[in-house]
């Protein structure tokens, strides 16, 4: 396999081109060529034993740390990844790639179809978590890394980490699985469906061909984001942050302006999201999460794996106030691994910040990630 690498200076990202590779997707469709945008942090050591793959969540991207030229802000996990941070780039070589189907430089609905000057839009094939991981595995291979020390992710990133365990256990040593599950629950699918309906009922969406007139279905996409954002928080966190406080006024307006701070906050979240995310990508990626389901099969795929997976270590973390991926879902994974006597650690962190906790200030999360990585790395380094 020959992979071409370039640097996109505008997007401040590396891009790997996989040409004529005929990537077969789970749906049966084939993508003959594709590209992945990725960033790396730290240095790969001589033995190539210190590589960590960080998998981003639904609306994340490859900009884990440092400057993000799309948002003009710090990377989404810059509090976790960097020199002397819990995922210490003085010690580890951290890789993060924009998922297949994403919109930060990797092949997705926003990008031009192979050999044409028209974007995929709704013609992009359906992608799954398994497909994303397959694409990532090709990237890791082309970087000449035989074994990843760790695969780490929260939410949709956790799904990818779990998929690595199932598909490529012989190419990883451990995973850190945060706020995830064996399956996307009915309630989660329901929320995604509302978001997709918001996008698709925006008249500007035009069956995914909005780019032909250089338009964006802003209203639909921002409503989708507003709904999703509620699910990432918790009632207590919202109450603590906003309560019933009014926004830039002393008395209610008796109208439909954003009287309340919480309304104003959600509107802002929706608006800023539109500037950085592609509506079609949102449809495809939410669908990929919906299709994720290892509920019945996980135990068997671990027990009867073709590839050896006995060596794997697992760190599973959940949050008390996460109602999107509640602790019970994490415990199912832990139970199944324990019933197979695998080396698993599990912690439920007490916080009111909801599903988004994994992106926020949680000292205990920092401690266990740092300790888990450092101690396990010391063991292979002996």
């Amino acid at each position: 396999m020959k992979t071409k690498f370039t640097t996109d200076t505008k997007l401040e990202t590396e891009i790997a081109y996989f040409e004529n590779i005929n990537l077969k997707l789970e749906s049966g469709d084939i993508i003959d060529s594709f590209k992945l945008a990725f960033k790396t942090y730290g240095k790969l050591n001589a033995d190539k034993t210190n590589a960590i793959l960080v998998c981003h969540a639904l609306t994340g991207d490859q900009y884990v740390a440092g400057h993000n030229p799309i948002t003009e802000r710090e990377g989404w996990w810059s509090r976790m990844v960097g020199p002397n941070k819990p995922i210490d780039t003085n010690k580890f070589f951290v890789i993060c790639s924009n998922v297949l189907g994403g919109c930060a430089g990797s092949t997705g609905p926003k990008e031009l179809q192979n050999g044409s000057d028209v974007a995929y839009g709704g013609n992009f094939p359906s992608v799954t978590i398994k497909d994303m991981v397959k694409a990532q595995s090709l990237l890791i291979e082309s970087l000449n890394i035989e074994k990843l020390f760790s695969v780490i992710g929260g939410s949709m990133g956790a799904m990818q980490a779990l998929q690595w365990v199932i598909d490529f256990p012989d190419r990883i040593l451990n995973i850190i699985h945060i706020a995830g599950a064996l399956k996307h629950s009915a309630q989660n699918i329901a929320f995604h469906e509302v978001g997709r309906q918001a996008i698709m009922s925006d008249p500007i969406w035009k069956n995914g061909k909005y780019f032909e007139n250089n338009e964006v279905p802003e209203r639909g996409l921002s409503v989708a984001r507003m709904i999703a954002h509620i699910t990432y928080l918790s009632e207590n966190a919202m109450h603590r942050k906003f309560g019933r406080k009014l926004q830039s006024r002393d008395i209610i307006s008796f109208g439909f302006d954003a009287d309340f701070q919480v309304e104003s906050y959600l509107r802002y979240q929706g608006k800023s999201f539109v500037e950085r995310f592609d509506a079609n990508s949102y449809l495809y990626l939410t669908r990929a999460m919906d299709y994720f389901d290892h509920d019945e099969t996980f135990r068997k795929s671990i027990e009867f794996s073709y590839n050896p997976n006995n060596h794997l270590k697992y760190l599973i973390v959940s949050f008390t106030s996460d109602w999107l991926f509640p602790t019970i879902e994490s415990k199912m994974i832990v139970n199944q691994l324990n019933s197979l006597s695998r080396e698993v650690s599990f912690l439920e962190i007490d916080t009111d910040k909801g599903h988004d906790s994994f992106l926020l200030e949680e000292p205990q999360l920092d401690d266990v990630i740092k300790g888990f990585l450092t101690n396990n790395f010391a063991k292979i380094d002996e």
């Binding site: 415990k331 832990v334 139970n335 599990f346 912690l347 300790g371």
Partner: protein, 227 residues
């Protein structure tokens, strides 16, 4: 003996009961102190369960395989005989259903190690006799209304329960309140009186295989039919 010393003493005695290179589950493992000791001195593969969130987080951060959870609810997830030893140090008296826990220990592990404070110690008996109030001692330092120790029992009670459950006591170590160590099984008289803390190595009785004449091959190994 103060609490910390007493636990250290407990751990070093537990260590003497464990062979090299074994797989161990430590229930109520705290921040992994005993696991560390057994990994270092016995080359053990260790797993732990800890109810307290901060202790579990510490243990994980120190690199141990620890599941944050409740032993009374979460032991069922482990498969039969998946560990060589299951350790329950100084916690049986704090369990809601000690009998169920005891049978779970020996389902998961080939052997179980259980240690507990003896409520039949003479100081405790004397306190209750003289003051007429629930005893408060160094090893049981709580008042009756806020104690985590909800099931008090003596060595005699424990031996009776083991007998009832067909559990074999392979080894037993007693400690006096001064820290003197002795073999419980050898010193029968007054044992329940002088033992301050007790440590037991337990396993199930090994029954002879029952031979059943049948065209199909039926093996009933270790099956308990009656006492």
């Amino acid at each position: 003996m103060n609490k910390i010393n007493s636990i250290r003493k407990d751990w070093s005695l537990i260590e003497t009961l464990i062979a090299e290179d074994r797989k161990i589950l430590d229930i109520g493992c705290g921040d992994g102190g005993l696991m560390e000791q057994l990994e270092n001195n016995r080359n053990a593969i260790t797993h732990g369960i800890e109810l307290n969130r901060d202790l579990a987080a510490n243990a994980i951060a120190r690199g141990f395989n620890v599941v944050h959870g409740n032993a009374e609810l979460d032991l069922s997830q482990y498969s039969n005989n998946s560990f060589d030893y299951v350790i329950l140090s100084q916690t049986l008296q704090a369990m809601m259903k000690p009998k169920d826990i005891l049978s779970e220990l020996l389902r998961i592990g080939s052997k179980a190690i259980v240690s507990f404070p003896n409520f039949g110690h003479w100081k405790i008996r004397l306190q209750l006799l003289i003051s007429g109030k629930m005893p408060v001692t160094e090893s049981l330092p709580y008042t009756w209304y806020d104690t985590p120790n909800i099931h008090f029992f003596t060595i005699k009670d424990f031996l009776n329960l083991c007998n009832e459950m067909n559990i074999v006591i392979e080894k037993s170590i007693g400690l006096t309140s001064k820290g003197r160590q002795f073999d419980i099984s050898e010193s029968v008289t007054g044992v329940n009186f002088f033992t301050h803390e007790a440590i037991f190595l337990l396993s199930y009785k090994n029954f002879e295989p029952i031979k059943i004449k049948s065209s199909k091959k039926v093996f009933a190994k270790n099956s308990v039919i009656a006492n």
